[in-house]
Symmetry: C2
Subunit: 357 residues, 2 copies
DNA sequence: TGTTAGCACTCTGAGCGAAAGAGTGCTAAC
DNA sequence: GTTAGCACTCTTTCGCTCAGAGTGCTAACA
């Protein structure tokens, strides 16, 4: 038995019908569609075949057919027609993303917000991983006699800072010296590379005058670098799930919310997805998301750093629309954080990208 | 008719019974309690009186009594007995709050997490408002030829930074000069005070050499200062509401989540609450929270800055337990961010408090 | 005079069965 | 190969009854 033209057509009709109604699709309903010119009985035969082939299931004998994960996969890969975003929406995306375009974090948060509004699903966005970002400055500033602030600036403009409680007394000169020596040592190196270096030994050789401070500074420096690698997760539209009949059961809604509000775990899921546009459906996800579908896409910052943005919802989602919204937003974000007029320079000029407060 | 001893006792029994069961309380149930030695009929008479006085309501004729908002208020003010936190919980709070005590934001986030776990309610925490914090440094760092990073450090160690896109070319010397002049001008002034000054004029008089840069810098500087005033909101335990029978109705759960996930609006509610321990019940809240109760308390940072932490849940909450957990956590937080061993100095030494990236 | 027992009454919620509706699968005819 | 027809299945909804919980009132009691 093979998937001939007619079976595909029927399958497509069933999937798209089910996506909009969330009700099992019966043969009579299908036969009424203008694009399908077959009697209910014929359709029933085909549906029976499709079920045997694993594309459809049956909640119970006297119910219509429901697409299986396999059917959604086929639908997404071959059957679905990409929808073009209405001009109004495009305009809105552009407008709203450019409103606070000088703050990466804020813009990304807005992007997530926008996405949940436009898809009526739960949306999320993660900021780029900076393990390959290069260090640009290291700076110690006095706060009071016991504590200083350490700030590390990356070439892409990202700033991370921490408070450090000093064990030994320090002078402003100490701090300036330390800032200079460390900047000199690490400038131009990637964050991940520095994290594997033996920093303590550097203090011994280069900075004997400061070795008394090393005990306070080294662990904090490492911690701050690690903080630089943290990926922020923004989510929006939690309450959208209540609009979906699949979550009218409170237990299911609870389950979903629990999974999705576990930031650490969920960030992990997102970080480990395929690059580019990625759609995973049902089984293709981990156990606790097996009733969901995720659609994600990447955005670029300075043409290098890669963040990610997407939605999570029921397998029955409007893949065409959702995909085009996500693509449009990520493209827009990438353009927003694009290098501006590199013009004559060979080395790329980093665009404004910086952290939140 | 007045609230005599017996009526109070009955009312207290009804409220505490309803809090644990969420079922309307009948006269027979009450008469079985060891602390109430009255026949159901007598209790019925008293309940009828209490209803007339506005302390009880009746879902329908043949149901037990339910406390009114007025009853909860009385309960909280007079009838409830404060519970003492078990030693295990105290220990856990202390342990978990001190794990990352060098990062205010992170600690506050952990506190919210802890609170939702211990109360099984939705918890929240806001970071302190810094409008009265004093500025300590202002620093411009070059990023690339078009952009610089501006960072403002407060006396309490809080750092805020922004990327600035420059309209005119700049030199490192320009930045250093600008940093010095601005630090000199604003050091020791409160953020809110600086925000009302006429910064632009300062550029004209003090910094003529830099006036070409002022156009880029002044608006960004103001924006960054405003960012310094932003209060961060952390929430946790959203999915706890599904455990409560009052939210077994999906529409109610949706409503609740929508109200509470509106960060801006909800932050506003929190910022405008009374200082110290504040409990608001039903009507006492805004319209969209009229079925809820909020309990909040303040914590202090450096004995000055004040943040806030609390829970939101149904009016039927264990006020005693909740209050003692919140108090214990806020006290603990205040101690964590306390000035450490000021010893000989007159001027208070600021403890480590700094921002999240 | 306050308290209590008794009883009729009310309202809710669970349980049950009937009936409607949707849809299938099979058979037989086209 | 397609279709009409029909018996059959399963779910959902509706109405009904009945048990249970609780009240309010009255009358008796201490």
């Amino acid at each position: 038995m093979d998937l001939n033209e007619r079976k595909l057509k029927i399958l497509q009709a069933i999937v798209s019908d089910f996506i909009t109604t969330s009700e099992p699709v019966g043969s009579r309903t299908l036969s009424k569609r203008p694009d399908i010119d077959l009697s209910p009985a014929t359709i029933r035969n085909e549906m029976s075949d499709l079920e045997e082939m694993g594309y459809l299931t049956h909640p119970h004998t006297s119910a219509g057919r429901v697409p299986s994960d396999k059917a959604y996969r086929l639908y997404v890969d071959q059957l679905m027609q990409g929808s073009d975003l209405p001009e109004v929406n495009k305009q809105e995306i552009t407008d709203r993303l450019h409103k606070d375009a000088d703050e990466l974090d804020q813009t990304v948060e807005h992007a997530a917000q926008l996405l949940s509004e436009m898809t009526n699903l739960v949306s999320f966005a993660i900021t780029p991983n900076r393990s390959e970002s290069k260090i640009s400055y290291i700076n110690f500033l006095p706060v009071d006699e016991n504590s200083v602030v350490l700030m590390i600036v990356c070439e892409d403009g990202k700033v991370t800072n921490s408070a450090i409680r000093m064990n030994a007394p320090y002078t402003e000169e100490n701090l300036t010296l330390m800032s200079k020596v460390m900047t000199h040592n690490f400038k131009g190196k990637a964050v991940s590379a520095v994290l594997t270096e033996n920093i303590a030994s550097m203090f011994e050789s280069d900075m004997q005058a400061l070795s008394g401070l090393a005990g306070s500074v080294v662990p904090s420096f490492m911690k701050t670098l690690e903080k630089m690698l943290n990926v922020d997760l923004y989510m929006d539209g939690y309450s959208n799930i209540f609009r979906l009949p699949e979550y009218s059961d409170v237990a299911k809604a609870q389950n979903f919310l629990e999974t999705v509000t576990n930031k650490e775990q969920f960030t992990n899921v997102l970080v480990n997805r395929d690059n580019g546009l990625a759609i995973t459906i049902g089984d293709e996800n981990s156990e606790d998301l097996k009733d969901c579908a995720l659609v994600t896409a990447d955005y670029k910052v300075n043409g290098k750093l890669v963040g990610r943005l997407g939605v999570i919802g029921p397998k029955r989602m409007k893949y065409g629309e959702v995909t085009s919204v996500i693509k449009y937003i990520t493209d827009n974000l990438s353009r927003t954080f694009e290098i501006e007029a590199p013009a004559e320079e060979a080395e790329p000029v980093e665009a404004a990208d910086n952290d939140e407060q």
